[in-house]
């Protein structure tokens, strides 16, 4: 194998700037998508535990749609198909006037895809809280929303914290798919550097290092959070 190493490349312009910009987009995609996904996922997850049969079926269909179609295809659908199906004016706005249409389309795709997975997580967490807790809340006169907000959900969140963290890592990784509709996030930038310089090891190495760092930090954050939120155990 014959290869000329050049690590300085990563610190010289324009490549350093490219990487930083890519990093910025990756972070922006992940975090924006994550908050929308949490909101949607929690809502659908609660619906999955409803006592009304049609609500359970409907939310089950939501989950199965977003989980059984590849994310890449979902991204294409949001980008190419949805604007066509919207009312003409809204579709036009989507395609022409929305600032950063590629970014927002990717955020939507990531958010909905992730929400399907989070919904299942929330359902499992809510069902893992003992039924008596809900009953105790009911018995003190709380309405269903209060019982969820103050009694059941805080406990469910503690239960699902570890898988929730790995879902966040997943959305960071999945944000790389945004490159297929033209968002120059981290993986796209490293590919671009490789194309321009043929220094794949350095370019992909830099991207790899960042993703590994994120995973590492997330692991630490999770352990810390678990410790802070852990409930004291009887001695």
């Amino acid at each position: 194998m014959n290869y000329q190493w050049n690590w300085d490349l990563l610190f010289s312009e324009p490549y350093a700037g490219w990487l930083l910009a890519g990093l910025g987009w990756t972070v922006a995609l992940s975090i924006t998508g994550w908050f929308i996904a949490l909101l949607l996922g929690a809502t659908v997850g609660v619906a999955r535990t409803s006592s009304a049969r049609w609500v359970v079926l409907l939310s089950g269909f939501y989950v199965s749609v977003f989980r059984n179609i590849p994310l890449l295809l979902q991204m294409f659908v949001w980008f190419f198909v949805v604007p066509e199906l919207l009312p003409a004016k809204l579709g036009l706005w989507f395609k022409r006037d929305l600032p950063n249409p590629e970014f927002w389309t990717a955020v939507l795709a990531l958010a909905f895809y992730t929400s399907g997975r989070l919904a299942e997580l929330f359902r499992a967490g809510l069902q893992a809280v003992p039924r008596g807790q809900r009953m105790a809340a009911d018995a003190t006169g709380m309405n269903p929303a209060q019982a969820l907000r103050y009694v059941v959900m805080p406990q469910a969140l503690r239960i699902i914290l570890p898988p929730l963290t790995s879902e966040f890592l997943s959305i960071v990784k999945n944000s790389s798919l945004a490159l297929t509709i033209g968002v120059l996030e981290l993986t796209a930038q490293s590919r671009q550097i490789e194309n321009f310089t043929f220094h794949g090891f350095e370019a992909f190495g830099a991207a790899t290092a960042f993703y590994v760092l994120v995973a590492f930090v997330l692991n630490l954050v999770m352990v810390g959070l678990q410790r802070t939120l852990a409930l004291p155990v009887a001695v």
Partner: protein
């Protein structure tokens, strides 16, 4: 929006079918290759000391930390460099998927083996079996049933992930639909059709896995 026209799906049926076949082939290779390498990794973990553990932990951690697209790019770039000659996207993709899946499969194996109670290993060792025999005759058979559904679920995820070879222009099912959609300007019809195909395949496969779980539970 022009009237929907679904006839082009029929007209391009064989092109689409070839794409689907490539997706399924890549899935199968990913499962078999990933399982083989993943088992090797898990065995090394079981039988070697601390250093082997660290190396394999690092392998698993890195592969699980980075996006599959980046893995595909890595091998698309690296495999020809290592072999010293151009090999094409297909070979690189096979290597990428095998090594990527191996990280996930070795974790599933590890969790499956851990799910067998420690008392079982002790009982086997106490009856005079060697460590290898204990694993072969006592631990593996028990871990196996616990792992099969998870392997299959992972295979369904892999089937969806094969669509990512789009980035190196391999003609899998999604790329095939994308080519037709763009060539004929029929994005809505073709992508809707693609969604339906993926949805039905994955739904059926998931239902199959659930049925299998029920059979095992009995």
């Amino acid at each position: 929006m022009p009237m929907p026209d679904y006839s082009l799906i029929v007209r391009n049926a064989s092109f689409l079918l070839d794409g689907l076949l490539l997706s399924l082939t890549l899935t199968l290779i990913g499962v078999i290759g990933g399982l083989a390498v993943g088992t090797a990794l898990a065995l090394v973990r079981l039988f070697t000391g601390v250093i082997g553990n660290y190396v394999i932990d690092a392998y698993v951690f890195v592969f699980r930390a980075i996006p599959l697209i980046l893995v595909i790019f890595w091998f698309y770039f690296m495999v020809p460099l290592i072999l010293g000659r151009p090999v094409g996207a297909w070979t690189s993709a096979i290597v990428a998927f095998t090594l990527f899946e191996a990280a996930y499969y070795s974790e599933i194996l590890r969790a499956g083996l851990r799910s067998v109670r420690a008392g079982q290993l002790n009982a086997a060792l106490a009856s005079g079996m060697s460590r290898g025999q204990a694993l072969r005759y006592v631990i593996f058979p028990q871990a196996f049933t616990a792992m099969i559904p998870i392997f299959l679920t992972q295979a369904i995820i892999l089937f969806q992930d094969t669509s990512l070879v789009f980035v190196v222009s391999l003609h899998d099912f999604l790329t095939a639909t994308s080519i037709i959609a763009n060539r004929d300007g029929r994005l809505v019809e073709v992508y809707t059709f693609a969604c339906l195909v993926y949805y039905l395949i994955c739904l059926a496969a998931t239902a199959g896995v659930e049925e299998l779980k029920r059979t095992f539970a009995r």
